[in-house]
Symmetry: C2
Subunit: 230 residues, 2 copies
């Protein structure tokens, strides 16, 4: 690795989007550090996938950190609260979905920001997507921009004049376009988990909102769906 | 408690500043929820103090949450990294102190934001102070403003038109003024821990930057310093 290679921190959930974003960051020549979160989501298949993806992209162990933060302490989302069911009807509501986790992405970006600062790194990659998940406030471009402004005021890096950039390379792509891009860059989507209700073997339910969007993505990209279903 | 009483989430570190801010929020009539952090700081005296202060102000147990987040995973601060010593010389450097923890306050505010959203609460109290700690980028008014803007774009609360406010009632006060205000509101400062190197009995070292600023605060306020020293 060239010592002048720029470092980047990538939020790696273990899903399809963040795996693609990691491939894009690598393709842009960044020295990639990945960060994943055990935030008391209902299954750990996602984290197992994150580890597999990091390994697939030759991210050494010390360059992939998993932070534990117990967001079930306040609940309020079907992903973290045992009293709330994950919807499987496929009905799309007008309002923000129950799978939205309050401030989760802000918390994750903040932790990535802290690690980036220690690494002397000014580039953070975030797989937000505003097309399919338009119901999530923290996936919109205006949110990302505001986080970036805040990040530059919050940190020593920012104050010292280094411009911190939150990269969101797939924010305007459809799921089909994301998959096409990822395949072009060699992503093995069989390693990724998008399902909100994956079983202990990491197999997808096929009926939650995340599964439905992913399925349609493979159809739109006109490629084989490599997802393992229950 | 009147059902119309507005809720507030208060960042409660266990130090002098946040104890004062809690007293101010209570005095303004808010129904107070407190949040503290075990972020792998080098001693737990601070958290013991946070619990004592919450109890002193009659915050019920379910209204005081302690989040664990291991910031020593990335280090980079004398407060979290065993390889970095906490300065005790009293020499004030021009640059940002080594006790600055990268993105810590942003991470804490983000978690407070998530809990506030679940509680249906739009008021967050943060004991930032830009007078004594002018070296910390995340204690400046411009940072707080940018966090507030971001918070309103990040959340369901914000999108639905509820204005989230980050209150910083002591940001422009000197330590002496903060102590005077707190005493007026009944704060027992013997319960608080400011020291970066407190011992297992919670006694202060008296020579770290935080101790020096606190000591001077009691002198400026012309009141007895109730701190227990080693």
């Amino acid at each position: 690795m060239n010592s002048k290679t720029k470092k980047a921190v990538i939020l790696l959930s273990g899903g399809l989007d963040s795996a693609t974003v990691l491939a894009m960051a690598k393709n842009q020549g960044f020295d990639c550090y990945a960060v994943s979160f055990d935030y008391s989501q209902k299954h750990i298949a996602e984290l197992t996938s994150a580890k597999k993806i990091a390994s697939y992209f030759n991210i050494l162990e010390h360059k992939h950190k998993i932070f534990t933060i117990n967001l079930s302490q306040f609940g309020g989302s079907a992903l973290t609260d045992d009293n709330l069911d994950i919807p499987t009807s496929g009905i799309v509501e007008d309002n923000i979905p129950i799978t939205y986790v309050p401030a989760r992405n802000t918390i994750m970006l903040s932790i990535a920001l802290g690690w980036a600062e220690v690494l002397g790194c000014y580039d953070i990659f975030y797989g937000a997507n505003s097309v399919d998940y338009s119901g999530y406030p923290d996936c919109r471009p205006e949110y990302v921009k505001s986080f970036e402004i805040m990040a530059n005021l919050a940190t020593k890096s920012g104050v010292e004049g280094n411009k911190i950039i939150i990269h969101t390379p797939i924010i305007d792509l459809t799921k089909g376009q994301i998959i096409a891009k990822g395949l072009e860059l060699g992503v093995d989507y069989s390693l990724t988990t998008s399902c909100y209700k994956a079983d202990e073997l990491g197999r997808a339910c096929g009926v939650c909102d995340s599964c439905r969007i992913r399925k349609q993505g493979f159809i739109d990209a006109k490629v084989l769906d490599v997802t393992k279903y229950q």
